[in-house]
Symmetry: none
């Protein structure tokens, strides 16, 4: 898709806003038969649906629940089955670690091993974040030949390990046996390019064991989710867009940074994000604006809180429209149905509002209504080509 | 898709009419909120929609605006991303040049160069077609070793160059630097198979310069859109259909010829085309009938003219139905929304009327109504298998 788009891109001064409401899609509450979107009073989003073209986005494949990485990469136009962002990389992005191409990242846990070196607690009794910071400082003193060793605390027993250098490979097995009474496993390379990296990681683990010997219960580490930083085509170059990301949560800023968007400094609320959007309106062509509350309420299984989050989001739509974007898209990176209290596999409503989006019978912004839209049920990575077309930024294919 | 279909084809004496209304799809006029199809009085097309199965055709991919080549190849069952028809080939088809497999074609412009050989006018002041014919006659005297050189005038400053011979390659760069004050570029081969062809084309350009030296303002040529004639699977053989094309405009006749259809002699109006259809009804199984007026009005940005063109088309539907085709399809090769005044990326309404097309809630033939049809939004190259099935010309897949 990206290869098809590249040669068709033409310049224009049109403005695009992609509003991603995290975990947007939901499911009916059994008592009422209505989903969160169907329950919420969202007149502004409904008007967008009436004026624009609607459909449902499927981020990976039917029945597949997207993580936040694939969910957003799909929205950005990348095939999430081709471009993978590993767990270690996401964890690093989540603490705004300044990842660079070629880095290999892993999630770390402090754990407890007994005198025989067998795992007694995989999370070291969930030590305090303060203690995590102290022990991480010990790990920072570890050195390995030819590479930089970067260790950062995350929260409680969790930390991030990043190796930086040339010729590293991220295809590595995990050291966590996922069971008590067993020793941590040595890391194995899963491809030839990762052989040396496996040796380096095993050396790191050996030194970590020594430095933590007196630190029970956190006297050992487990490493999981190894991954290299993916070398993604850069969004601004592929689409010819000056692209900015506005997100209060670090992980989403990180995902935008990985694809080459400028990450704008903003505050902690969505009102701050909208203020940032206004402030930078003239300087960019494309804005990715992230709204977290819908996902948070869904993950908590709190149907009413998700309804309220949707109504708050709806209240900001007129402010965004007042900027007169040529193309406004509202969708999300995955569903988070409150009755599931987790990410879901259900396709996610999408509306594209532009002068050229097309006639559409849909007049309400929810799962059931959008299923009858002209966009149909669309793989998420096809959204950006549609957006580019609506922004009159693509020429025709073939003569 | 073609590989899947081939072995399933079985004989039948059923008749199929594919009516392609060029640029059929549109967009709502902002003042009324209704598209051209929604505005037009088209009772016969609406009745087809009520009786048949409806949907929307997407010719290339979401957001991708098809040219006429990919648009029609999709309708004919070919994957337009796999089978490409270049600009030079289309230009040659547009003047009914008798292209053959292995030919390499290019669009030519007469241009003006100054004493230093730098381009002063890329179109030589748009010389008259008469002068183009005279100067093309000079170019026809050019000979090259081992290949035939064929040059034909098109219109004003435009002509077509075709090289015919064995071992030619069409992957060539253009000679037009797309700027004034620069010299024409030499042609470069973009793959190894085109190396010799590049040398031949450069020799052609050298001889053209000599023959035009005294012909200012048209004292040089520029060549663009090089392409080999694609070696497409032949439509009549793939589908087991005696297939005929009826089109008043040469380019569409040419596209049909490239896939191996018989091109029937017809007049310049759609009434002529329908008369031709009746005349040859017994001799063919499949008729591709092309209606140009919808595209023409859309390209002109003339909403009312497009509405009128749709109403004229509607008036011919009873005559076509009177022939009692077993399968009648109405669709188009791409949208040409009047408010865009150009080809658009929007999916195009399609109706399949046959005894076996299936129940469908759609009762009007337009973008919004067809979005709710049982065909859904369908890649155009999936249309022909559906048509073949409705014509009872495909056996089942697998035991």
């Amino acid at each position: 898709m990206l290869d098809l788009i590249g040669p068709l891109v033409v310049p224009n001064d049109s403005k695009i806003v992609l509003l991603s409401s995290d975990g947007l899609g939901g499911l009916p509450r059994p008592e009422t038969g209505k989903s969160e979107l169907e329950t919420a009073r969202i007149p502004n989003l409904d008007r967008l649906a009436a004026e624009g073209a609607c459909g449902l986005l499927r981020h990976v494949a039917p029945g597949i629940t997207p993580g936040s990485g694939p969910g957003h990469l799909g929205l950005f136009g990348y095939d999430p089955l081709r471009y993978l962002v590993g767990r270690g990389v996401l964890e690093a992005l989540g603490i705004e670690f300044d990842l660079r191409a070629g880095d290999v990242a892993a999630r770390g846990n402090f754990c407890t091993v007994d005198g025989a070196g067998l795992i007694a607690d995989r999370r070291a009794g969930r030590i305090s974040t303060d203690l995590c910071i102290q022990l991480t400082a010990r790990l920072k003193t570890i050195t390995l030949p030819g590479v930089e060793v970067l260790v950062e605390p995350v929260k409680e027993h969790r930390f991030v390990l990043v190796l930086r250098g040339t010729g590293l490979g991220g295809r590595l097995s995990e050291t966590d046996p996922q069971a008590l009474g067993k020793p941590p496993l040595p890391v194995r390379a899963l491809d030839a390019a990762s052989t040396r990296t496996a040796e380096l990681v095993n050396a790191f683990v050996g030194q970590a064991r020594a430095r933590l010997a007196d630190a029970a219960p956190a006297n050992m580490v487990l490493l999981r989710g190894f991954d290299g930083v993916p070398d993604l085509p850069r969004f601004p170059e592929v689409f010819g867009l000056r692209a900015a990301a506005i997100a209060a949560y670090p992980m989403y800023r990180g995902l935008a940074k990985v694809v080459g968007m400028d990450v704008l400094k903003t505050g902690t609320t969505f009102a701050d994000e909208v203020a940032t959007l206004k402030e930078h309106w003239q300087s960019y062509d494309f804005f990715f604006v992230h709204y977290k509350d819908t996902d948070k309420a869904g993950e908590d299984g709190d149907f009413d809180a998700k309804v309220a989050a949707l109504e708050r989001l709806d209240g900001f739509v007129p402010e965004i429209l007042a900027l007169r974007p040529d193309v406004l898209i509202v969708s999300g990176d995955h569903a988070t149905p409150s009755i599931l209290a987790a990410h879901g596999w259900q396709p996610v409503p999408v509306v594209i509002r532009s002068r050229y989006a097309g006639a559409d019978p849909v007049t309400a912004f929810n799962e059931r209504a959008c299923a009858a839209g002209t966009l149909g049920t669309l793989p998420a990575q096809h959204l950006m080509p549609l957006v580019m077309a609506n922004a009159l930024r693509l020429t025709k294919f073939g003569a």
